[in-house]
């Protein structure tokens, strides 16, 4: 593999794939989504982490969290429902045991985190900002699987704004607000976090869903409801990214059922500066590498010098 960190010389015809999100420079727009990549080490046997645009950690909280009872995961048509319940090792153990591993790589680390209360969001942001090796914060105000925290702050624009403005005051790192699709109008939420000082938005988190075993009449997840992800939700996610792109100026990170480079391109054309690959990691651990290669090939094949030209490039003119 060529040295990825070396800038190609001016005479090189390789297209530019670098993007910048809130001052954070990524070598390409392909990140891994929170909760689908562990803390980085889990997938290091399968891919070269150095090639990723960024790594987004499993959602972190001040104290470790046990998560929900099992079954936590079930498959649905072209997707999966999960109700993990934000199980995580806690910020202290993350900094001590997990961060040193990912820090070895030449890849920005975005810490995804949540709080049970407003104050905890502020405290968690401060703690994460103090550690060496965290390059941005992604604020989870959209987990559908826990009673406290998470989505409580993600479906009310005032509550979302109060979380984001507290996090904004508590850190100098770029602040990314991860939005829930489980709202009537996602642009209201996007404007609220933009006004509160977010540097970027990422969307969408999972859609709330449910599945029932008709033989036993029992819910298939112990938590009864869960979050739907995978290709099944992609059209919803692309639509929401497009709506948000028309509503705010913030850079957008598109998420939702991206399996291939073409899927990623849909989000970029709709308005995303970068994307996150989630469920695809489970199905195909090398999905991110294939997407990165596929994006570059698309740029070459279509004579596009810089991937940024594609962002918000949706053509809605009537065809002739």
């Amino acid at each position: 593999m060529s040295s990825e960190s070396n800038k190609p010389p001016a005479t090189d015809h390789r297209p530019l794939t670098t993007v910048t999100i809130a001052g954070l420079k990524l070598k390409n727009p392909v990140m891994v989504a929170s909760g689908t990549f562990g803390y980085g080490e889990e997938y290091s046997p399968y891919i070269d982490l150095n090639r990723l645009g960024a790594i987004v950690t499993k959602g972190l909280s001040i104290k470790p969290k046990m998560g929900n009872p099992t079954p936590r995961i079930i498959e649905t048509p072209s997707g999966m429902l999960n109700a993990i319940g934000l199980q995580n090792v806690g910020i202290d153990a993350f900094v001590k045991d997990k961060l040193p591993f990912v820090r070895q790589f030449d890849v920005p680390v975005i810490a995804n985190f949540f709080g049970n209360t407003l104050e905890e969001y502020g405290e968690a942001a401060r703690k994460l900002s103090d550690c060496d090796g965290v390059h941005a914060l992604e604020v989870n105000i959209s987990c559908p699987n826990v009673k406290e925290g998470g989505i409580v702050f993600g479906i009310d624009p005032k509550a979302a704004a109060s979380v984001i403005s507290l996090v904004r005051k508590s850190t100098k790192l770029p602040v990314i607000a991860k939005l829930s699709p489980n709202v009537t109008d996602i642009t209201v939420m996007a404007r609220a976090v933009e006004d509160a000082g977010a540097d970027a938005v990422s969307l969408i988190n999972t859609l709330t869903g449910m599945a029932i075993d008709v033989r036993t009449r029992r819910p298939r997840l112990a938590n009864i409801t869960g979050g739907l992800s995978g290709p099944a939700i992609r059209p919803v996610a692309v639509r929401m990214v497009w709506q948000v792109a028309n509503a705010v100026k913030l850079p957008i990170i598109g998420i939702g059922g991206i399996m291939t480079a073409d899927d990623a391109l849909e989000f970029i054309i709709a308005g995303a500066t970068a994307v996150q690959v989630g469920t695809a990691n489970f199905v195909n651990p090398t999905a991110t590498m294939e997407i990165i290669d596929g994006l570059e090939k698309y740029l070459i094949d279509n004579h596009i010098a810089d991937i940024k030209e594609l962002v918000r490039s949706l053509n809605i003119q009537a065809s002739h």
Partner: protein, 250 residues
């Protein structure tokens, strides 16, 4: 741990609804141990979307692995139709697997239904596969009916003693396989270090663990769970561990 494009060597129905799949994947086989599993995907469809976890049924270090599976739903239904020469994507080998030391004198291997699958690889290792170790291996197999008792000949071939129980009494003891285990442990025991290994339905595993505790015999249980990744990232497969909160079992 590797993600490899493997080639199907053979995929044959060994009993009604049960298939044995041989896969060419020497890199996976070389590192694999009994009790470990692989995440398998056939085809490129998004429905079913996720890989399926399968225990490793047999390991041939030079060529690949075998998987013994029961056709249950869409995923295994698709698998039943794949033919020699076709491709399958394999991630493995994953999980902790069974372990034992050289000193182990007696192994009591308990399998329920398709839970017998990983126990053949284990029994092959336990019996030393011709190396000539003097280790006693008794395999207790349980199932609903005689059709669900798998691999009896294979176990016998490698020198293991086999005891059978079926719910309907169509083969062997009528009742639970755990009753056979308890009956055996209830007899006067020698001094050789003994260990119980088990794989099967959750309730069977629970009963095996209770019996192991009662007779003060070390025991290793292989559990199954719904999971998406197989590598410890999705945290779907976790199991509660006594005294230490929660950790993943892979």
């Amino acid at each position: 741990m590797y993600q490899v494009k493997s080639r199907v060597i053979k995929n044959e129905e060994v009993a009604e609804g049960y298939f044995r799949l041989s896969l060419e994947c020497p890199e996976v086989a070389e590192k694999a141990g009994p009790g470990q599993f692989v995440m398998l995907r056939v085809g490129n469809s998004y429905d079913p979307l996720l890989r399926r976890p399968f225990s490793i049924h047999r390991i041939n270090k030079w060529s690949g692995i075998e998987i013994l599976y029961k056709v249950i739903g869409k995923g295994t239904g698709m698998m039943a139709h794949i033919k020699a020469g076709e491709g399958a994507s394999v991630i493995g080998s994953l999980g902790n697997g069974f372990s034992f030391t050289e000193e182990l004198g007696e192994a009591l291997v308990v399998g329920g239904g398709i839970g017998a699958a990983p126990l053949l690889a284990l029994a092959e290792k336990l019996t030393g596969k011709g190396i000539g170790e003097e280790r006693k291996v008794i395999v207790f197999l349980g199932g609903k009916s005689k059709e669900d008792i798998l691999c009896v000949e294979e176990f016998k071939e490698i020198g293991a003693e086999v005891q059978i129980a079926t719910d309907d009494g169509s083969l062997g003891h009528k009742g639970f396989v755990t009753e056979l285990l308890e009956r055996y442990l209830g007899q006067p025991q020698g001094t050789a270090p003994t260990r119980i290994f088990s794989c099967g339905p959750h309730l069977m595993s629970k009963r095996v663990a209770e019996i192991a505790k009662k007779y003060n015999t070390p025991c290793q249980v292989s559990l199954e769970a719904h999971m998406a990744c197989g590598v410890g990232a999705c945290l779907g497969c976790v199991i509660k561990v006594k005294g230490s909160g929660v950790r993943g079992q892979f």
